[in-house]
């Protein structure tokens, strides 16, 4: 299968030739396939935001290539613009970018820029609103009257309305209460399943990443340090902690118990796995 989006030796240097020169990412090689759920992890300044802005052509690589369906996204201006619509990017705190008088108009901004017909725009706005679980009644209201969680979902719907085949979200749940957080995660999952889209999620929450992602990408100091399925990545729990990242609680407990001599496998990262492994060691059955 061909990757839907990929990068080869992607490097980006900010403010080249001034005293503020700074290499944000270095030699990043990355591949993503349709229908995949990926998580990009790294602490502040690790280059993950710079990285995702390359995927839809907002930033131009200093060296290296970004390919969408095998073609260099910067091969022509028209193609770069086209890629913007096919690789949807939801920034951090996207509700700060709402600007229209009604939610309907704001969600319609992307499709309108695509030059779609009026009926198609209308269809897409309603589709995106349904995907983000927004009531029809909300569409006529001013975005500034809504609650924080609702605003966030309006902003995400604004990107979903372009129906991108790759949906990138930069910490979409930051600053939300647990209910809204779960809601946003459900909306994104819903979108991925319905559209068979590739979802790339930038996240601080290892628990979320461990639970949902097919593969994880760990950034550290501008490099892609560890990649793989959650089980493989959390095998490196020690390295992850050295990078200043927290690993899921279950992995931490397992690591602590291993250090105290309990023979637990290295790929534990969910509570269920931990319980099973502990029971196996104890040699007993779960007794309710």
């Amino acid at each position: 299968m061909k990757p839907i989006i990929s990068t080869e030796n992607l490097t980006h240097v900010y403010s080249m030739g001034t005293p503020f020169e700074h290499t944000a990412i270095r030699d990043v090689c990355f591949e993503a396939y349709a229908g995949e759920y990926l998580c990009v992890i790294g602490h502040t300044g690790s280059g993950k935001s710079t990285f995702i802005q390359h995927l839809n052509g907002l930033l131009k690589p200093t060296s290296g290539v970004v390919r969408f369906e095998g073609e260099d996204i910067h091969k022509s201006k028209a193609f770069t613009r086209d890629v913007r619509f096919r690789v949807g990017l939801v920034f951090q705190y996207p509700e700060y970018q709402l600007f229209e008088e009604t939610c309907y108009k704001d969600i319609a901004f992307g499709p309108k820029n695509m030059g779609l017909a009026k009926e198609e725009i209308d269809r897409r706005v309603h589709m995106a609103a349904a995907m983000a679980n927004l009531d029809e009644e909300l569409l006529a209201r001013q975005p500034f009257d809504l609650s924080g969680g609702q605003k966030r979902r309006v902003a995400i719907a604004g990107v979903m309305a372009m129906q991108p085949s790759v949906l990138i979200l930069d910490e979409p749940t930051a600053g939300l209460d647990p209910d809204s957080r779960a809601e946003v995660m459900r909306n994104v999952e819903n979108y991925r399943r319905t559209m068979n889209a590739c979802v790339i999620m930038v996240s601080h929450s290892m628990e979320d990443a461990a639970r949902n992602a097919d593969r994880l990408f760990v950034f550290h100091d501008g490099r892609l340090e560890i990649t793989g399925a959650p089980a493989e990545v959390f095998r490196h729990s020690k390295e992850l902690q050295d990078m200043g990242l927290t690993v899921p609680l279950a992995a931490q407990v397992a690591m602590g118990l291993r250090a105290r001599g309990l023979p637990l496998p290295e790929d534990i990262y969910t509570n269920g796995q931990l319980i099973e492994a502990l029971l196996a060691v104890k040699g007993g059955e779960p007794d309710a």
Partner: protein, 268 residues
Amino acid sequence: MLKDITMGQYFPAPSVIHRLDPRTKIIGLILYIAALFTAKSYCSYLLMALMLACIIALSTLRLKMLIKGLKPLIIIIVFTAVLNLLFTEGEHVLIQVWKLRLTLEGVRTAGFMLARLVMLIMGSFMLTYTTPPMTLTDGIERLLSPLKKIRVPVHELAMMMSIALRFIPTLVEETDKIMSAQKARGADFETGGLIRRAKALLPVLVPLFISAFRRADELAVAMESRCYHGGEGRTRMNVLVMKRRDWIALAVCLAVLAAVIALAVFGL
């Protein structure tokens, strides 16, 4: 993009010029500008250029950066030079096309004007390039403090200036972010006529204003909750002290001004 604007930015470096007291630099700049406008002859311009070159050399900043800072102002500079070139009356006509006369005096005035503008801008840049904005407003506040006697709210003005300066980078960053976000939804800021481009800015300006008001609100609450009540009885963390190097620098600036005035008086 927006981040590449070097005008008015501070470039840290461990040089003598950076370490000078901000008051010295402000007064020095005023003297320098006064000298620049008194200068009338080749000799005095040469002296001014020498002074600027010394300051630049001492600051250890790269010349490339200074020239980059001039870029946004090139149109004004060239426009002024061309106006002077064409509309200066003179006797030695070099070329005449229709009613436009290119005179030797015109070339001379245009040349001087060009040099004066470039040196003026570069000199002012040296102040902002080598002084952190907060230190600069501190210096201005101290210099203006005598005005407190006639009830000018000097501290409040300086505080407003500090806040404005402090928030320029934040707002630039914010603008960048909002522009990127709207671009990700296909907004196009680069093509189309003037009206279309102005309209395209709406999705940037609305969120920017909302966020500026939000920030102002938050800052006001934060200041109030820390009992900020204006300049009365307020002490500073870094007290400005004039050192020997400051007096030497001021003496040099005064000497240059005196020399330029002398040159002008004797018509050299």
